[in-house]
């Protein structure tokens, strides 16, 4: 969540703070690389904080990879469902429109953590598909919970982008006998894609930040492993390096995304 704030600061201020962020990014990268470098080079004579961190870093990194993987699957699910809901919000049929709106608003105004608990306790541990009992593990539930928020965001992004296309485009298409679905697919959506990309990426950056919430479901992701490592080592002075390491991983992953988003936003802002 910390990085959201950082992102907003960059977005609203000068290139000076951008340089700052870039420095911070390089420092994070340096720190993250220092750990394996140290493990490879240093002699294991005395166990300093770097030695301990180097010992546990692979585990934390492995957990972090699950964060990334969960976010990637959730973004695909959320984009598909959100795209459908967003188009539903622009439907002509009143009940489709209302239901899409209701679902969107419900998930948009629900805290992700609550949605995660919701998924954890209300979904079964396994599903019966024909003769097979398919397990429904915690990480799958976490993905589902995360994608619900993303669904609502994407739905709003699509609705907003559709609304930004002048109604005369719909009219021109109607006059040429395009069906409504053809109009959406060939005329409206292609014009929206550019406008939707920056907010979509922004929503993704927010979601990757939300993935550590899955630790409350007992998913073995980055934060869970970090805490496990701290407990195992049992040294209070190790709290800072461990958490900094995890934060650095997130920063390295997410900062380029948000920086790119801002560049895209600027570019499209100038054009339109």
């Amino acid at each position: 969540m910390k990085l959201d704030v950082a992102h907003k600061v960059v977005g609203s201020t000068s290139s000076k703070s951008q340089a700052w962020m870039a420095t911070l990014f390089m420092m994070s990268l340096g720190f993250a690389l220092l750990v394996p470098l140290h493990a490879a080079l240093a002699a294991p004579a005395e166990r300093g904080w770097l030695d301990i961190l180097a010992q546990w870093a692979p585990l934390i990194f492995k957990g972090f990879c699950l964060n990334v993987a969960m976010s990637l699957v959730a973004v695909v699910l959320g984009t598909l469902a959100g795209g459908a809901l967003g188009i539903g919000q622009c439907a002509q049929t009143v009940w489709v429109k209302r239901i899409s709106w209701l679902v969107t608003e419900f998930f948009r105004n629900s805290p992700t953590l609550v949605l995660l608990f919701f998924c954890m306790y209300l979904l079964p541990f396994q599903v019966q598909i024909g003769p097979f009992e398919v397990p429904f593990p915690a990480w799958a539930k976490a993905i589902l919970g995360l994608s619900l928020s993303k669904t609502a965001y994407v739905s709003e992004i699509v609705r907003g982008a559709f609304a930004s296309i002048p109604s005369t485009q719909w009219e021109a298409a109607e006059t040429l006998a395009f069906s409504r679905w053809q109009t959406i697919r060939m005329i409206i959506l292609p014009q929206c894609l550019k406008r939707m990309l920056p907010p979509w990426m922004n929503a993704y950056a927010i979601m990757i930040m939300a993935t550590p919430l899955a630790s409350v479901l007992g998913v073995n992701e980055g934060l869970t492993f970090t805490r496990a490592a701290i407990t195992a080592v049992g040294r209070p002075d190790m709290l800072t390096p461990f958490y900094l390491y995890l934060l650095a991983l997130f920063f390295i992953y997410a900062y380029p995304i948000s920086a790119w988003t801002i560049r895209l936003e600027r570019r499209y802002a100038v054009r339109s």
């Binding site: 485009q169 021109a172 298409a173 109607e174 006059t175 040429l176 006998a177 060939m186 005329i187």
Partner: protein, 247 residues
């Protein structure tokens, strides 16, 4: 006017209100097949709404419209069938900005009429040549002038081989220099015998191209006459006023 063939567009006593505002208060008119009819009148007199009723972009409250035998006001109207017969060109061109000129012209025939792509492309290129845009096939709308965009819009509409063309103040948004190139294009269509229903503020053009001119004011048709008669000796006081202001 000659009444030998039945009119291709027949509008009978149509009414239309938007909220409390009654925009059309019982309008009747006919467009004979192959002829050009111009509608003129002050802004807000219901001209554009009248035109939009003809291809069912606006549904009428009362009255009836038939286009080439199709009842536009029927509750079970086949809108797609109607719109294949009726082409429309707008004031703001409304081209699809993400597609080139050629693609704009080809899209509807390929995707709506499911025509063969190769023959559609040949036809589209011919249409662009006809509206004097040879060489602009790969240009995007944003790269074309207003007049050029409007001619692409005309070609796009013609690509559907409509029976009737509706023009809604198509030169109102253009620079004075480019107005002419669009009007020349429309005149050529009219001379080819395509039925045209034109809402315009270009009096000289209306006089030259129309077989009949209708004057609308406050949702009613006040006067209808062949252009020579209409411009030389308008019968209605309001028409005279309007023409004096404009000419």
């Amino acid at each position: 006017m000659s009444q030998e063939t039945p009119p291709i567009v027949r509008i009978t006593d149509i009414h239309k209100s938007f909220g409390a505002a009654e925009v059309l208060k019982g309008v009747s008119m006919e467009v004979p097949r192959g002829q050009t009819v111009c509608i003129i009148g002050p802004s807000g007199s219901g001209k554009s709404t009248l035109l939009r009723c003809v291809n069912a972009l606006v549904t009428v409250d009362k009255g009836s419209i038939t286009v080439d035998g199709e009842d536009v006001t029927a509750s079970k109207l086949d809108k797609l069938a109607l719109r294949r017969k009726v082409g429309m060109v707008f004031q703001q061109y409304n081209l699809f900005p993400h597609r080139t000129a050629l693609q704009n012209v080809m899209m509807a025939p390929v995707h709506v009429l499911k025509q063969d792509r190769a023959s559609t492309e040949a036809h589209a290129r011919e249409l662009l040549r006809k509206v004097r845009l040879e060489g602009k096939e790969t240009a995007y709308p944003g790269e074309l002038s207003g007049g050029q965009q409007q001619r692409v819009a005309i070609a796009r509409s013609l690509a559907m081989s409509p029976r009737v063309m509706l023009f809604d103040e198509v030169t109102a948004a253009l620079d004075p220099e480019t107005v002419k190139e669009v009007l020349v294009t429309i005149r050529e269509l009219a001379e080819e015998g395509i039925t045209c229903l034109i809402v315009t503020h270009e009096m000289g053009f209306a006089r030259e191209v129309a077989q009949k001119v209708y004057f609308t004011d406050h949702g009613r048709i006040l006067e209808a006459a062949p252009p020579d008669e209409f411009f030389a000796s308008p019968r209605h006081e309001r028409t005279r006023e309007f023409l004096n202001q404009i000419l």
